[in-house]
């Protein structure tokens, strides 16, 4: 037993002394090797264990200044880590004992659960809290800042066109809750978008591709459906929740992981926006029907854009929703399932001719 010494660092200088150590009743006692006199006893509760390169380190005080260095073949070495762990329970100790694979599964499950919860809860609560009036105000503010941005890149409002387009929209009942305000913007971009609360912005680029009043009505009906279903507001809230979760999960990771998470988020929001688009298509066609406008206007709109789109790059209306062929098929199905009297609305046609 005499040669079974361990090294003892006393926290006063860096020169270790050879000592004997004994564990009994939750305490560890350090004895002088030569005189066999007790140097000091320490409760195991409060000690820390570390093993590096076949040596065990037992830190005896909370500050880690006094410690024992125990070789792996010493009788104490076998059980020391378990004894220290038992004397110092901590949160997550049971988790630490699980298999790595199990831990990964738990973590991924937890993240997925949290993600699904927040991604649905935030837009749900948000749309409950934010009333129609506030949404209208938000939309107006967003429109103003977007128009300011557009003006900086030389895209101005077409006032005369806006008046005609508004008149066209007023001939239709597009929304029950929201006042629909249409703005026509001079721009090559082939696009149109809806803001919360009834603001719709149409770029002149898309007007060039629209050849029938029914297709124009379909465009407005589609955008109005985004407004009615509060899609933009829901997207904003959902993106906010998304950003929050990603910053929480990856706060510890490097920039690369963050970048990656960002692109995953974009992809995700794209698929979310697709589901919103097909909802807007369907609801839009319902709006057309209730306004006695031929629902195949939706199909005409998409086909016109699809043809124009070949070889062109700035057709954002399609690039955000690339599955146009699928959407045309959906529109076909809808038209087939909803038989209608194919009638022309002359009032719409008159305004449409002026716009052209």
């Amino acid at each position: 037993m005499e040669n079974e010494y361990v090294l003892y660092y006393n926290g006063i200088n860096a020169q270790p002394a050879r000592v004997r150590a004994l564990i009994s009743n939750g305490w560890i006692y350090v004895y002088d090797l030569s005189a066999d006199a007790l140097i000091q006893g320490f409760p195991l509760k409060g000690t820390t264990h570390n093993k590096v390169n076949a040596l065990h380190y037992l830190y005896l005080d909370q500050q880690g200044l006094m410690y024992l260095e125990i070789p792996d073949d010493h009788p104490l070495a076998g059980s020391i880590s378990v004894q220290v762990a038992d004397a110092n329970p901590y949160l997550g100790q049971r988790l630490m004992r699980q298999k790595t694979f199990m831990l990964t599964v738990i973590l991924l499950g937890l993240i997925a659960g949290l993600y699904l919860l927040l991604i649905n809860l935030v837009p749900y609560i948000g749309t409950k809290i934010i009333g129609v009036q506030q949404e209208i105000e938000l939309g107006e503010r967003l429109k103003q800042s977007m128009l300011d941005n557009a003006a900086m890149s030389g895209e101005e409002i077409d006032s005369a066109g806006t008046k005609e387009l508004q008149a066209f929209a007023d001939k239709l009942e597009l929304s029950r809750q929201y006042p629909i305000h249409v703005t026509l913007l001079n721009s090559k971009t082939v696009n149109a978008f809806a803001l919360p609360g009834g603001e719709i912005v149409v770029f002149s680029g898309i007007m060039k591709n629209i050849n029938t009043p029914e297709a124009l009505a379909a465009l407005l009906a589609h955008e109005s459906s985004h407004v009615n279903e509060r899609h933009t507001l829901r997207s904003i809230l959902r993106n906010g929740a998304n950003a929050l979760i990603i910053s929480l999960v990856f706060s510890d990771a490097s920039g690369i992981a963050g970048l990656l998470a960002n692109s995953v988020r974009n992809l995700n929001s794209l698929s979310y926006s697709r589901s919103l688009e097909s909802e807007a298509d369907r609801k839009g066609m319902e709006v057309l029907l209730s306004n006695h406008v031929d629902a195949s206007g939706m199909k005409q709109l998409m086909q016109a854009l699809l043809q124009q789109g070949e070889g062109q790059e700035n057709i954002s209306f399609l690039s955000t929703h690339p599955l146009t062929k699928e959407r045309i098929a959906e529109a076909d199905k809808f038209i087939h399932n909803h038989p209608q009297h194919k009638q022309k609305r002359d009032d719409l046609n008159d305004i449409f001719q002026k716009l052209k």
């Binding site: 660092y9 006063i12 860096a14 500050q63 988790l95 790595t100 831990l103 992981a257 998470a261």
Partner: protein, 327 residues
């Protein structure tokens, strides 16, 4: 007095020692710690963060050895939690005042408060962070310490910021080296002290060279630039006690840096971030394997002489603002 005995005492003491640095952590172990940390952070809605930090730092320190002895980090989650709450309150107050002025349309005052606020917090956070981290770090039972004075450091910081702005950034290199010299020359381990000797002019020209060569080689030189920055840090560092010193030498090469960084990038990307723990392990191994220390000082002569310091507010502040630890 050392002349007459056959072997002078001085001669036997002055023996050249070489001290290896090493990292013994395993990616798989660090991964488990990170996963359990993340699970508990999620379940506690973030409150576990300071304890997670304790677990993480304790692991990284305890698996790093100098001269075969591991480092010890004795900071606790409880201390860091208190600091975390205090740091959060400061942050909330600052942003509260910011939004108050913003909503009352005093844009200029609002942004002034944010910029000045962050600028004022930065030196305090860096200074306090070093005080806390060093006081909680020990090796062979001997505590480290940072003995810089807050007033001096803040003064140095603001003078540097003003000069950097006035010289359109050029003074930045001198500024950074001044801060580094001040901080590292105030770091102690027991009765021995660190000294840093990097000069602004050398650092400036090294970075000018690095910048232009990186542009000319379409980024390839950036690994060699990294190596030069690493060398500049390591080779200018030493530990002194009395007349004796231990010097640090870098063994890094640009090629090794390229391997480390490209490898880490691929690991993180192809594991969708889950391989982060292995990237950290590779980095720690790289750093320790590429620093060599040797000199005539024997660490057996170390005496405990630094005080304890348990206020983690500044360390948490640096965390919240993402300032990073090493200058």
């Amino acid at each position: 007095m050392f002349i007459f005995p056959g072997k002078s005492k001085l001669m036997t003491m002055k023996e050249l020692h070489s001290y290896p640095l090493a990292y013994y952590g395993k990616g798989s172990e660090y991964f488990r710690i990170q996963i359990v940390n993340t699970i508990l952070i999620i379940l506690t809605l973030g409150l576990y963060y300071p304890w997670a930090k304790e677990k993480k730092l304790k692991y990284l320190y305890s698996k790093t050895t100098f001269d075969q002895s591991p480092f010890m980090f004795s900071g606790t989650g409880k201390e860091m939690f208190k600091g975390f709450i205090k740091a959060l309150i400061v942050l909330a107050l600052m942003y509260g005042i910011f939004f108050y002025f913003l909503l009352n349309k005093h844009m200029v005052i609002a942004f002034l408060i944010i910029y000045v606020g962050i600028l004022a917090i930065m030196p305090l956070a860096i200074h306090g962070s070093y005080r806390y981290r060093m006081a909680k770090t020990s090796w062979k039972g001997i505590r480290f310490g940072y003995t810089g004075e807050r007033g001096k450091f803040v003064g140095l910081f603001f003078k540097g910021v003003l000069l950097t702005i006035a010289t359109l950034g050029i003074y930045g290199a001198w500024f950074k080296m001044k801060l580094r010299r001040y901080i590292f020359s105030n770091i102690k381990i027991g009765n021995a002290q660190f000294t840093y000797t990097g000069e602004g002019a050398d650092y400036f020209w090294m970075n000018i060279k690095g910048y232009f060569l990186t542009l000319l080689t379409f980024g390839i030189y950036s690994f060699w630039w990294q190596k030069e920055q690493f060398d500049f840090f390591v080779n200018n560092l030493r530990i002194e006690q009395g007349d004796d010193a231990v010097f640090f030498y870098s063994k890094a090469t640009g090629g090794k840096f390229a391997g480390l960084m490209i490898g880490n990038f691929l690991i993180v990307v192809f594991t969708l971030g889950l391989g982060y723990a292995w990237a950290v392990t590779r980095t720690m191994t790289f750093i320790t394997n590429n620093i060599e220390a040797s000199g005539y000082y024997s660490f057996e002569l170390l005496q405990q002489s630094q005080k304890d310091f348990s206020d983690a507010t500044a360390d948490d502040m640096a965390d919240l603002f993402d300032f990073g630890f090493v200058i």
